[in-house]
């Protein structure tokens, strides 16, 4: 199915949860995610199922160095 991730359309497998998407994109869980303008809680990542045409914003979280 097609979703918009950080303003770019991408094809992802049907029925993915947010955790599944992160694994699909090879991203770690320490990531901030907005789905259709709503920021998800960490505890929602395993259960929140993505839908066709969802708009996602994904930002990686990192500190200093």
């Amino acid at each position: 199915m097609k979703v918009i991730i950080n303003k770019k359309e991408q094809d992802i497998p049907e029925g993915l949860t947010v955790t599944g998407l992160l694994e699909h994109l090879n991203l770690r869980k320490k990531t901030a995610i907005w789905v259709n303008g709503k920021q998800l809680l960490l505890k929602e990542y395993d259960t929140w199922k993505l839908s066709e045409k969802d708009h996602l914003k994904i930002l990686k979280i990192i500190g200093g160095g």
Binding site: K30, A32, L59, I62, G63, G64
Partner: protein
Amino acid sequence: MMNFPNARILEINLTDKTHQVKELAGDIYRNYPGGSALGMYLLLNDLKPGVDPLSPENLLIFSVSPLTGFPISGQSRMTVTTKSPLTGTAGDSQVGGFIPAHIKGNGYDSILFKGKSPQPVYVYIDQEKVEFKDAKNVWGKITGDTEEIIKEELQEKNVEMSVIGPGGENLVKYANIMHQKNRANGRNGVGAVMGSKNLKALVVKKQKPQKPLDMEGFKTLTKDIKERMKANEVIVDTSLNGTAGVVDFHLDEGFLPSRNWTRGYLEKGDQIKGDTITKTILKERDTCFACAIRCKSVVEIEGKVDPTYGGPEYETLCTFGSYCDNTNLEDICYANQLCNMYGIDTISCGATIAFVMECFEKGILTKEDTDGIEINFGDGSVFEKLIPKIACREGVGNLLAEGSARMAEKIGKGSDKFVMACKKQEMPAHMPQMKPNLSVNYAVNPFGADHQSSEHDPALMAPKDSNDWIWSNLLADFQGCDAYGVLDQNKAKFALETQKCYSMMDTLCLCQFAWGPAWQLYGPKDLVEFCKYAIGWDASIEELQAIGERRINMMRCFNEREGFTRKDDTLPERMFISIPDGPNAGTKIEKEDFELALEEYYKLAGWDKETGNPTKETLKRLGLEWIK
């Protein structure tokens, strides 16, 4: 209320080779409990305004804290405090490793050097025994040789030491103080102050670690360390790739300061990623006293790079890498080694060379000015020619040894536009366009641009049930943020409140990877527990924040005495340009937003908006009326 321990201060007069131990009463020490705050307290009390930083009148102060030397991760840090020859401000530089734990083990919270030895010396401390040793055999030697020769002379291997290399001896404005050949009090030119005193090394005998007052309570913080680490993805990555892993993230997002900060993206940047280093040249990970994280990089390139000098951290990978548009890892690693051998700061050194590269590109400098050396972007082969020259102030090295800001004053021709520094200190490699709270912090920070003086903005983007969000909101109530490049009142508040927290950690001499208000191994509530179990200190988050705030205000007062005002709280104009290309092209901070955030910061800090200095009411609130 507990009896806070007194501070034991070993005061060493290098002029007449005498020493004495002074005690600071616990009820006073509790307000300035170690490290950077204790150093500033001593500096404000004992140093007259207007002193030349490289004169015998300046003080050089090594301080640890009541929490140093306990068997837990991230507590073996030390601050060097002085008046900085690079910035002219309060000088402040941190180091980790093993010497902090052993300074505490010898019974001292602070070792204060005053005066100047007539001849080069090193000082050897074994508890109450303080010996002045002739340094003629090590003066002029690189740091590694110095450590070896001193151990042979003392016929003692159980020592730790802080040493300067030729950079410090030759008063390079950004000379550092090295420890174990691969850890540096890197910033603010503290090594030049040590060199100006003819002090080659501070050597301490290793001693037994401190024992917590409440061992059973203490174990509640340490017993689950493996699980605690495993549950924290940033710490897992830090253990795997070290600070170099930050290159991966910043490159992927297009916020890796490149080509003297004209870009945020580096072509072929994959070649200097942490992941690349781990897979190719990493020999092992080293650690500091009692720390489980093991983030220190040790790299080896046969025939070229000696692993005993460590390996490049994130900042060094940028200053000699992306700043210089250079992706040759071998050249970066060798530059890191040379800086550690000669005792000069990798951030200021690499950034100054990047400045020279831009001067070359613009035709302001030619090889006629640089001893025949072409210094072009992308050519890392110049590092091994320039670094020894800088350290020994030979030829063009004498010019680069002054740092980019002073170089621009001498060169003229508009080169000041290419200086990427605040208060004459070259900038660390975190772009305010991505992390806008750093724009405020870089500008107001009393000792110049510093990336370890506040939490970085992504904590405000974190999910509301993550530690990043929960811990940072223990300091104050913040609003969430959903994008890079946002600079508003919320960010000004975040800059100030997390600056207080980081300031407190530099006071308690805590590693900011192990302890902190967001992604670290231990959070603010854990720190309160650490204080209680280690020394019986009934601290609170509010008391700890006030300690951090007190230190910042002491530094601003020190700077005020030296003539600094709000007009010095500026950023290079290049901070306000859009990121021109890469994944986040177009991200920028508006100058107007920066000025408004700065106003908000002064208001929240209780500083006069005209002068930028603490008001009398603020000083009274913090118990600092004694300063002015």
